[in-house]
């Protein structure tokens, strides 16, 4: 009796281990499929993109999170840019990479400030930008920011005249290594001081 019982127990625990091992293996496999897909893509991919490529993976978020954790202590990290994912080298190792820096953009002080105003106050109208900076916008400045692909056009403001608004792009987040605009330096402080409205952020994030 005792013997049989023991044996059954063993059997049971064996099956259990096998099932969980199988699960683990399947999960690991999913993780690797995502790894290959994201690695091979030249653009950051959204969860939707990934779902299209792998309809068979049920909880993509879990696999993605595992993958992010796996790469977190490496020199190549899996980063989240708004709702998209991409591999980027860790800034910590930048000194060793002597890439030709082609993309280094020389922006005027006014352009940098205007970009920051758009980032912190988005969606923001031209008039609001001028009000915040206390100076009228130089011709061609918004043009430059649109061209650099950091800035795009948002919804029209529902006020008289329905003015055009400006917002930052995913590329802006990617460029500065941010996951969301909430990661901007001093973002919380700026909102708490009433310098930009919290409601707007939810609008952007949605």
């Amino acid at each position: 009796m005792n013997f049989i019982h023991k044996n059954e127990n063993e059997k049971f625990s064996d099956t259990k281990t096998q099932v969980s091992e199988l699960n683990n293996e399947a999960n690991f496999e999913n993780e690797k499929i995502l790894e290959a897909i994201i690695f091979a893509s030249s653009e950051p991919l959204s969860i939707n993109d990934l779902k299209k490529s792998c309809p068979f993976i049920e909880d993509i978020d879990v696999s993605i999170n595992n993958l992010m954790a796996f790469y977190s202590n490496r020199a190549v990290n899996l980063v989240k840019i708004k709702n998209t994912y991409a591999f980027r080298t860790s800034p910590y190792y930048s000194i060793h990479i002597n890439q030709k820096v082609e993309k280094k953009v020389k922006l005027s002080k006014a352009a940098k400030e205007t970009l920051a105003v758009i980032a912190y106050h988005q969606p923001v109208t031209r008039t609001e930008i001028e009000d915040i900076r206390g100076v009228s916008l130089h011709k061609g400045l918004i043009d430059t920011l649109l061209e650099s692909n950091w800035v795009s056009i948002g919804k029209r403001r529902n006020t008289p005249g329905m003015p055009v608004t400006y917002i930052t792009t995913n590329y802006f987040l990617d460029y500065f290594g941010l996951t969301t605009v909430k990661d901007l330096p001093n973002f919380k402080e700026m909102i708490e001081a009433g310098f930009s409205a919290d409601v707007k952020v939810e609008e952007i994030e949605s």
């Binding site: 980027r88 290594g177 001093n186």
Partner: protein, 254 residues
């Protein structure tokens, strides 16, 4: 004292260094106190005006924005110094003061954050995407690509083309004054009744808007000319109502 010169002598006037009057004010305020909450607005106004005076002595060109800010600040200072009941219906001076202080603080925060933002590691400078992507054994599919700015520029271009295109007359749609005179003369001799001026216009000039407009204008001008010489009579009861024409019997008989 308000009149005391608040600016030390080392102060160098350089308007080009400032992006507008608000930035100039901010830099003056920051010289005053570390904490923007404790700046004295009246003192700031004096500093600003003194700055502008120095600039104009140096014959630096002042943008309109700087002068507008100066007039606002002068107004604000007078409001702060004068008894309150003089300005019952307007914003209180403390509200105006608070508003200015808020704007200065907001600009200062943006300036600090801009610096911090650009200190962050940047893609392609401090961290990198994958250096290259293999294309082996893959179907290369051509895909159209453009950007919003390109589409906007294209649209702006079409519109500017229209606005700046040279003025062009569409000759065939212009009713010549000589033709109009002949037609009106013809009519005057034939008919002795009042008739609407547009009925004189030949049928083939009534089939499009541009032609009608041109024919109307020319026929009217021709009939005015003939009325002046006494060949016809024109009648209109009030502005924008029907305009009628009739041959001058007396003249026709003659």
């Amino acid at each position: 004292m308000v009149n005391a010169n608040p600016i030390n002598n080392e102060f160098i006037v350089d308007l080009k260094g400032f992006d507008g009057p608000l930035e100039l004010l901010l830099s003056l305020a920051q010289k005053q106190k570390v904490d923007l909450k404790e700046i004295s607005i009246t003192e700031l106004v004096d500093q600003y005006l003194f700055f502008l005076k120095t600039a104009s002595k140096l014959k630096l060109e002042l943008a309109a924005e700087y002068l507008m800010m100066a007039s606002f600040l002068t107004y604000l200072k007078s409001r702060i110094l004068l008894p309150k009941d003089l300005f019952e219906e307007e914003l209180s001076s403390s509200e105006l003061e608070q508003n200015l202080a808020f704007k200065l603080k907001r600009l200062s925060e943006i300036k600090n954050s801009t610096e911090e933002l650009f200190m962050k590691p940047k893609l392609g400078v401090d961290f990198f995407e994958r250096g290259f992507f293999e294309e082996n054994n893959k179907k290369v599919i051509k895909k159209l690509d453009s950007s919003l700015i390109e589409i906007l520029r294209a649209f702006a271009k079409i519109n500017s083309k229209k606005i700046f295109s040279p003025l062009k007359f569409i000759r065939e749609s212009i009713f010549k004054i000589d033709d109009a005179v002949n037609i009106v003369m013809n009519f005057i001799f034939k008919s002795k009744n009042w008739i609407l001026i547009q009925e004189i216009i030949p049928k083939d000039w009534k089939n499009n808007k541009i032609k009608i407009r041109s024919a109307m204008a020319t026929t009217f001008a021709a009939s005015l000319e003939l009325a002046k010489s006494g060949d016809c009579l024109l009648e209109q009861n009030s502005a924008f109502t029907d305009l009628k024409i009739k041959g001058n019997d007396f003249r026709v008989k003659k």
